[in-house]
Amino acid sequence: MQTNVLLRNVGVADSYQIETYVQQGGYQALAKVLEEGQPSKVKEVVLNSGLRGRGGAGFPTGRKWMFLPKGVYPRYLVCNADEGEPGTFKDRVLMEHDPHGVIEGIIVSSYACEVEHAFIYIRGEYNLGYQRLRNAIDQAYAAGFLGKNIRGSGYDLELSLIQGAGAYICGEETALLSSLEGKRGHPKLKPPFPAAQGLYRKPTIINNVETLFNVPFIVLNGSDWYRQWGTELSPGIKLFSVSGHVERPGVYEVPLSTPIRDLVYDICGGPKDGVPLKAIIPGGSSTRMVRADVAMEARLDYEALCDVGSDLGSGAVIVVNEKTCLVRLVARLAGFYRHESCGKCIPCREGTDWMYKILQRIERGEGRAEDLPLLLDICNNIAGKSFCPLGDAAVQPVRSSIERFGEEYEFHIREKRCMVDG
């Protein structure tokens, strides 16, 4: 049920060193594309593979690459390694244990997109990941996989590693570009989309670490190989960061469309201490929470999760058991979004602050009957009105929990105490 493609080097001794990586068959995809010398062929195989972005939005990667305007150079490629979505920690594993895999993904993708300067924007807190990448980049330069005239092919690529400074919004692609340009991490107006006008107003491809990590495998094995897993719309394999109330939380690699039940019960050892589950947040805190019984019938792919009123997101499965107070959990999440709202637009800046204050008040036992309709109203007034998707994201836990677990809120308001704490 689990696959061992993306994580194959995890656990191998010295997996982050170039020798190990090469020994395990690394940099072969690069050799292949350089030898073939046809960037468009690389784009094509990625398009055909149906690979979708692993950063959260799930946009088909090959299609994104096709948006690059013809004949406009320089172009940039940015590897989004900000990994800020609560519950998500898969990119971290790749960067710490297989930094050369990340780099090879970047080089092959840059080659496909005719990019000569790529960037990794890494979450500021990822210290070990930063060091491993730093070391790996230096090794790759020394080995001639980066820099001028890569492996005698005539292809040049510079790769810069940049650390973020602790803002979740800087994972949003346009805010990330602002930050890379040395500006305040504010999202920018779209259109123009980054592929048309991104970093320094040049065409720019932004992809998640895991997305790019998939590319060398697809290049080596072909799109049919990739499509052996998953569904038509959700092909391939995916890393899931499982956290919360399971026996063995961690990062797991499974084919898309694996039943949630299999992941939670078989792979992660089931509910922690056998306490029954209450809710699942299947794709990171920005996706709607689902009642556990409903979730257990669903599969981990884009379509199936949509059917149960949620989303695959970044593949961060947060498992919540019955001993957890959802009001408190949602208040915590609301606090996160309030803290991370960049402040650019009114609905998100004011709405997240307001929601957080109301939720805290309910938590304190000072809730009022009118608070629930008010919260839902605020959600409506943020969703679809904010400048960037952070506002929409902030709404998801609040709205889905009130809609699907309203009784807990009502108990809180009525009894002025928590339903689970007793």
Binding site: G343, P347, E350, D353
Partner: protein
């Protein structure tokens, strides 16, 4: 980007056509459909941040911000007919108000606040917000002029974007994030931008308030009268907000030809001189050696008798009038008419005269489309700030390059264009050299229209950039770089200022008496002007515009306050013109050219000048020599706002009105005639210039000439000006009031010949090794600003700027107290070491020290050579 193609769309069921490239917001606004906004401002690049302007656009998911959505053919937009969009906007105001302090009763913006208006129009009636409001700083001074109320700030970014996009001063920004976002400056440093006041106007709430106006009045208590700023030659259009007969606030009045919707901080904040307690409020007459208050009839009687006595005993040659570049056209016109027809003399002049041959700039907005701008002895940032704003527009939006040719760097040097920092006195050699370098570039044959290109090549032979390096102190590479830029330029323009005129062979300062006869003076300015014309011709006949310093520099000349020129710059020696004037004025006129100011001072020295009337000028303050000489004139009459240095020397002092207290007109640097309207009553017995002159004339002229002085308002004076001045026949008063009227420009003959200009090498003087140059600061202690306390806080102490190399050589360090010593005098100052001044040159700003810099100038009025000693 707007194109000519029209797009058709439907907004709220209304069919609308508008140019392609407009936004939905613009189309709706043009069609009279109101869409509320906060972050959007028509003068700023849209950012779509606040989400206030959400509308529904058929065929798109969700709501769209109309301020950023471009119109498309066939688009169907719903603003007020979409319940979703209406609800979203209502909700947005609700969001904003959750943490807004709602202290409208004490907020300066109350009454003209977009948030108030929109809350009323579209907002919810009551608040659902029961949580504690966020607290931030209520009184956060951002700089000398502005206080920020962080609680009121809606974080719309307008202020930041204005400073970025227009002023190029990235001083404000947002800090922190989310609900904790605050507007402030980097590291809390005070704002320095000279444009900061504009942020108050465009702030959609009362977050930014003027420290000068704050809590002075509710806006609805102000009477706003259209006016013109009197503080520089641009003449920005303004409103004077008056309450209880005091000017409380100045705000810009839109004029796309001049100031767009902006005004500089000097114009906005430096108005308190108008209501200053030291304003003269009664006439003063000298009795027993002391100036004592008198009534108007007493004072005018003394003046009339004084002038008559001189006329009777010494004749009209013993009398003179000195006008001003700061008073209205009506005052200047009547003043010269009085001096000519009543005092019977052409002894008339004004200081800082625009030299004949200097051409005014054609248009301010056109500056935006210049790709290379040459600033020759001109510093628009301090001398005519709006000119700077238009130049910055050219630079910031279209990438124009600025070439600075000036002994010291100026603010516009910041854009990295070449700086040709020449040693004062070597400017002619430098410009010759620039022309030589230009010819060397090949110039892509721009010189076609000139007839003597080969000659000029020969003349310029000795001016190779390497050869002038030593005399000018300018590196050959910089000259070549400037030449290269100019050779590539498609739309270059040259702007030159009064300081450039001092580069004549012996130097000459129009503002300072030389003792030389005026013909010679004109000869001294000539070469500097010829060189400008040569350069313009070499570039293919491009525009070269003079940027004067004072408000009505063009008016003083055009009204004929000059020894050689009647109104309309017609020569006094022309018999036909003279007889026309004589018939207009009902009096015979002197056929001889009069004394200019230098001539007057020579006459005063030789005791030939017995009486003089000075209107709105203070030569004694600017020149010690002149002060001494004026003191020797037996009957001196001075008309001014304050008891100036010159006024204290007078027999009679007449209290005049300021620009805020009388109707009149002025001509700005592009030649636009603009109306100034009285916004308040004058203090005490102060009277308008036209009234004073008229009254005096009536006392002096014989009965049959009384009718010629029957003016009862400045409008009557303007009526006569319209008849007398060539080109004013079609004067359009409505236009004059609305945005200025442009008289037809005289057809300039296209120059086709280069004029040979020989550059003299300034003499070295080992004892006084450095050359002093001066210049203006934006805020100084000049005549009016001196009485405007709020801006006095930002006037620096006097200083002398010296190049680090020179400082090292003479053992000087930053902050050292020093004496500036020339052959003429000495002055205390403080050293500023900076590479913003050329080696061998020192720069000291005018009008900041108590002792004027003129003590250092000798009779010849070249830039003085000095030594700097501890």
């Amino acid at each position: 980007m707007t194109t000519d193609r029209m797009v058709h769309l439907t907004i709220d069921d209304q069919e609308i056509g508008c140019p392609e490239g407009w936004t939905v917001y613009e189309a709706a606004t043009a069609a009279g459909i109101h869409i509320p906004t906060f972050c959007h401002h028509e003068k700023l690049v849209p950012v779509g941040a606040c989400r206030m302007c959400l509308v529904e656009i058929e065929g798109t998911l969700g709501l769209q911000t109309s301020c950023t959505a471009p119109v498309r053919e066939g688009m169907v937009v719903r603003v007020h007919t979409s319940p979703r969009a209406v609800e979203a906007r209502r909700a947005n105001i609700e969001f904003l108000l959750t943490n807004h302090p709602l202290d409208c009763p004490v907020c300066d913006k109350g009454g003209e606040c977009p948030l108030q208006d929109q809350a009323l129009l579209d907002g919810p009636g009551n608040s659902r917000y029961v949580e504690e409001k966020r607290h931030k700083s209520k009184r956060y001074p951002l700089g000398e002029f502005i206080v920020l109320d962080q609680e009121r700030c809606v974080l719309c970014w307008r202020c930041i974007r204005f400073l970025d996009e227009w002023a190029g001063d990235h001083e404000l920004d947002l800090f922190g994030r989310g609900a904790g976002t605050r507007l402030t400056t980097f590291q809390g440093r005070p704002l320095t931008s000279k444009w900061q006041g504009n942020t108050i106007d465009i702030c959609p709430v009362g977050a930014l308030t003027s420290r000068i106006f704050r809590f002075e009045a509710r806006v609805w208590e102000l009477t706003n009268t259209p006016s013109i700023c009197p503080l520089c030659s641009v003449g920005c259009n303004t409103f004077l907000g008056v309450k209880n007969n005091e000017v409380r606030r100045i705000t810009p009045r839109e004029n796309p030809e001049i100031n767009d919707v902006w005004v500089c901080d000097k114009g906005r904040f430096a108005h308190s001189f108008v209501d200053h307690p030291e304003r003269l409020t009664t006439p003063l007459v000298r009795r027993d050696g002391k100036l004592e208050p008198a009534t108007w009839s007493e004072a005018l009687d003394v003046v009339a008798r004084g002038f008559k006595a001189v006329l009777d005993q010494d004749g009209s040659q013993a009398i003179a009038g000195l006008g001003s570049t700061r008073v209205s056209n009506e005052a200047s016109y009547l003043f010269q008419r009085f001096v000519r027809s009543v005092l019977q003399t052409n002894n008339l002049d004004h200081l800082e005269r625009m030299p004949s041959g200097a051409t005014p700039l054609q248009s301010l907005p056109n500056l935006e489309h210049r790709d290379v701008i040459v600033l020759l002895g001109a510093d628009p940032s301090t001398e005519a700030p709006l000119v700077e704003l238009w130049i910055k527009k050219a630079v910031l939006r279209h990438g124009a390059k600025v070439i600075v040719i000036n002994p010291h760097k100026i603010e516009l040097s910041r854009y990295g264009g070449p700086w040709l920092g020449y040693r004062p006195g070597s400017g002619l050699a430098l410009l010759n050299s620039l022309m030589r370098a230009l010819l060397d570039t090949g110039l892509r044959d721009r010189t076609g229209r000139a007839t003597n290109v080969d000659e000029v090549r020969a003349w310029l032979e000795p001016f190779g950039p390497d050869r002038v390096e030593r005399t000018t102190g300018v590196q050959a590479a910089a000259i070549r770089q400037a030449a290269e830029l100019l050779a590539q330029a498609k739309q270059p323009i040259i702007l030159y200022g009064p300081n450039w005129l001092l580069e004549g062979p012996a130097g000459s300062a129009a503002l300072l008496p030389t003792g030389a006869p005026s013909e010679q003076r004109a000869g001294l300015v000539r070469p500097a002007l010829d060189l400008v014309a040569n350069l313009a011709l070499l570039l293919g006949g491009v525009e070269a515009g003079f940027v004067p310093w004072d408000h009505n520099t063009l008016g003083a000349l055009e009204m004929g306050v000059a020894p050689d020129l009647y109104p309309g710059q017609q020569p006094v020696t022309d018999n036909r013109v003279r007889s026309r004037m004589a018939s207009f004025w009902g009096s015979a006129l002197s056929p001889v050219r009069g004394l200019d100011f230098d001539g007057m001072m020579v006459a005063a020295r030789e005791e030939g000048l017995k009486a003089m009337w000075i209107l709105g000028a203070d030569p004694a303050r600017h020149c010690r020599v002149a002060g001494n000489l004026l003191g020797q004139i037996p009957f001196l009459v001075v008309q001014d706002l304050f008891l100036t240095d010159t006024a204290s020397l007078a027999e009679v002092v007449l209290p005049a009105t300021s620009f805020a207290e009388s109707d009149g007109s002025a001509i700005n640097l592009t030649g636009r005639l603009q109306a100034v309207t009285a916004a308040k009553y004058p203090p005490g017995q102060a009277r308008a210039d036209w009234w004073i002159i008229t009254q005096l004339a009536r006392l002096m002229v014989p009965p049959k000439q009384q009718r010629a002085w029957a003016f009862s308002s400045p409008q009557h004076v303007l009526d006569e000006m319209a008849k007398v001045l060539p080109g004013y026949r079609n004067l359009d008063r409505a236009a004059m009031l609305a945005g200025g009227w442009q008289p037809p420009r005289p057809q300039e003959a296209q120059r086709r010949v280069f004029t040979r200009v020989n550059a003299v090498t300034p003499k070295e003087d080992p004892e006084y090794p450095l050359v002093l140059c001066t210049g203006r600061l934006l805020y100084d202690r000049g005549a009016l600003l001196h009485h405007a306390e709020p801006v006095q806080h930002v006037v620096p102490e006097g200083y002398v700027m010296i190049h680090p190399g020179d400082a090292g050589q003479y053992g000087l360090a930053d902050g050292d107290g020093v004496s500036l010593v020339s052959r003429a005098g000495r002055l205390r100052s403080t050293v500023r070491v900076s590479d913003e001044v050329a080696p061998g040159t020192v720069f000291a700003p005018l009008n900041v020290n108590d002792a004027p810099l003129s003590v250092l100038f000798d009779d010849r009025w070249t830039w003085p050579r000095v030594q700097v000693v501890k």
